[in-house]
Symmetry: C2
């Protein structure tokens, strides 16, 4: 078996294939495993440069962590959140009402088939911005824009209304998406989320993982599939492509992909995120009753969290710049970027916050083997046109990756589920052929 | 000099470079020149499989044809157009009113910078569907949907309102976009539009055109650019990339493209078009007072034209299937596609129309070195985010192609202008360095 991509989805698929007695060969473009999870070491400690959170109802992820012996701990959230949004409480309240309305609309969607909802065509023909425009005064719009960029790393104008609803449906509720305690940001992994992939990779056969091997061509033959990577060709009965759609589009397929699948790869646009980690001697903000969280409606940074290690041996704040804020930030020279980010941290968490011992920026849109985070989003027309082929195998080629999961799409949970699903497809196909 | 792409834009650029005393080497992925213009020979004659029309105000295209000795002739349009649209005249009248309103909004746009218009953010945050929804009753919507797919090969829900306005502004008026006489469909080229590229290619130096050479990598060095194609590497001082954005995205760049440019390549989505040519012994519909044109608000075919040669030595009808109609048609087996198209021609032009001597389908979305026609369209958020870098050189790399023209964007006129503009940039840069 050939698996393209050694992120969580590909490695989970490979594990399932091994358990079924098959031999998966995993090829990966980068020099590391983990995909959109990535622990980067710096003098002051290690930072989570990528996906890092786990939460309630993310059961497959929890089971995997348990089996691999990767412990979790609660995200530090005790204390006051710094909130700076125009309109204050009334705007916040109105935003909550609109989110409740969206949640109700989302409940109409079949979770596995958002395109089949009664109002799918209507909801997929408009942007989320359009829906908001007639309903939210500027201040409430500001709150919802902040929430939108925090969840999708994209602007309301870039997203189909149906995509927003499909996302809510996929996670289960707005609270599950947005909350720390009781939501998707509730827990973190000891040693970092990449550790899951590192341990999964250890379970592969010797020589069965090929790093620095971007896949260039996937050729289907009468009897199998040839996956050409830079350094090797893997011949297999079936292949699982476990990379984001935007990278799936960079592979040459022979025979070519059907037009609908090819368009899906192009139209599912990854969000724009710059994640900044700042390390300090201690989480000093806790002494002042602050929890390290910030929510504001202006860039360059709109959201922060306390990202200190479980023993608080040092302090860490993680700051997110997303959507247009990230695009604007990326255009500045490095020194000005740093200054702009630290100015925000200093303003809300005090002068010490502006002087971290380590400052680590990860611009995911500039990573050639990712090209944007958190995941792929559909603009108007995407779900109704291309949703139906999101998980549809193309001959002997199967698709995995967080984008392809109907449950917790674009989250680590979705990645795990997608890898399990794709492996099950392959195993069933081999059993039958 | 290196030029990637031997369509009209690349070949016009190459000609301008040669005239300035430089030596352009042109590399082209296909086994032919002409890009999105393509004359296909069949037993009954030749058919225009791609771009084919010229019209008033397309001055650079007219000048080029004149210089190359390619004559034009008037598109046959005498007689009655077959029109079949729900709502009849009132719907048509309302649609015209809305188009006039759009034209007035478009007049606010700076032609070279739609993103700088006073209402740019607001107009770019909504789909064209959204704008129409509150203004057009279903019947008028149907008329405008037909016009939209005919002009953009995309659905109203896929397009940013600002994109629709930018297009109108780029062409000059709605009538210039949509009319035959007095508009962009007014004239045709004797021998087919591809003939322009064929003659331009003859003007290149011996051995300076490399077909079957898709560009894989563009590497900038301190002194120049290396363009790696499948069979050769061209080393040059500057390079012009004259391929559609969707193909520009398939090239590897070293150093990598800035995020904004890379996103532009991904977000400018080409339309979906299947163009069908039917040949007959004679243009028999003319005898019945019909001009061979059809406009209807349902697929699989919404628009046809009389595409007979200037001497009417035989008859030809060309039928367009676009947007979702084209996507649906592409999913049918070949025999059913043919049956569905001929059923439409038979219904409006008589039984003989359903029995052509030759039937030639060109599905542009399935052409790997095109990936969609007519050209790239921006969904919501595209123009305001990526418009400013549409023509911005990346170091020693310059961009041409119909999508990059502020005037007659996505038309042959735009292609010619873009080639001239990119060559002028290169010549100016060399003069100054």
């Amino acid at each position: 078996m050939a698996v393209a991509g050694a992120g969580l989805a590909g490695l989970v698929a490979a594990r399932a294939l091994r358990r079924a007695g098959l031999r998966p060969l995993v090829v990966e473009a980068r020099d590391r495993v983990g995909g959109r999870t990535w622990t980067r070491s710096v003098p002051g400690g290690a930072v989570e440069a990528g996906g890092q959170f786990a939460g309630p109802t993310q059961d497959r992820l929890a089971a995997l962590a348990g089996e691999l012996g990767v412990a979790t701990f609660a995200t530090h959230h005790a204390g006051r959140t710094r909130i700076d949004m125009a309109g204050g409480r009334p705007a916040y309240k109105r935003a909550k009402q609109l989110l409740a309305e969206l949640e109700e609309m989302a409940s109409e969607l079949p979770r596995d088939a958002p395109w089949a909802a009664a109002h799918a065509a209507e909801w997929d023909a408009q942007t989320f911005h359009d829906w908001l425009r007639d309903r939210a005064e500027p201040d409430a719009y500001g709150v919802l824009r902040m929430v939108t960029t925090a969840v999708f790393a994209a602007e309301p104008a870039e997203l189909s209304l149906l995509h927003v609803l499909a996302y809510i449906r996929s996670a289960g509720s707005v609270d599950l998406l947005t909350e720390v305690a009781g939501g998707a940001q509730e827990r973190r992994f000891v040693g970092g989320a990449q550790e899951l992939s590192v341990r999964l990779a250890r379970g592969l056969g010797a020589g069965d993982l090929h790093l620095r091997s971007p896949v260039r061509r996937v050729r289907q033959t009468p009897g199998g599939v040839e996956v050409d990577a830079r350094n090797l060709t893997v011949r297999a009965r079936r292949a699982i492509i476990a990379v984001p759609p935007v990278l799936g589009d960079r592979i040459e397929y022979d025979p070519p992909l059907p037009a609908g699948r090819a368009e899906l790869h192009r139209r599912m646009a990854p969000g724009a995120t710059i994640k900044i980690s700042c390390l300090y001697g201690a989480p000093f903000w806790r002494d002042e009753g602050l929890n390290g969280s910030l929510m504001r409606d202006r860039g360059p940074v709109t959201v922060t969290f306390d990202n200190s290690p479980p023993d608080a041996a040092h302090g860490a704040l993680v700051a997110f710049s997303q959507g247009d804020d990230a695009r604007a930030l990326a255009r500045l020279p490095a020194g000005e970027r740093r200054k702009a980010v630290l100015e925000v941290l200093g303003r809300y968490f005090g002068e010490r916050a502006a002087r971290p011992s380590d400052y680590v920026e990860t611009d995911w849109t500039a990573e050639p083997w990712t090209r944007g985070c958190f995941g792929g989003n559909f603009g108007p027309g995407g779900w109704t046109r291309y949703g139906p082929v999101l998980r549809e195998p193309f001959g002997r080629v199967h698709w995995a990756g967080a984008e392809t999961s109907a449950v917790w799409m674009n989250y680590m949970e979705g990645a795990v589920r997608s890898g399990e699903r794709a492996a099950a497809e392959v195993i069933a196909a081999l059993g039958g052929s």
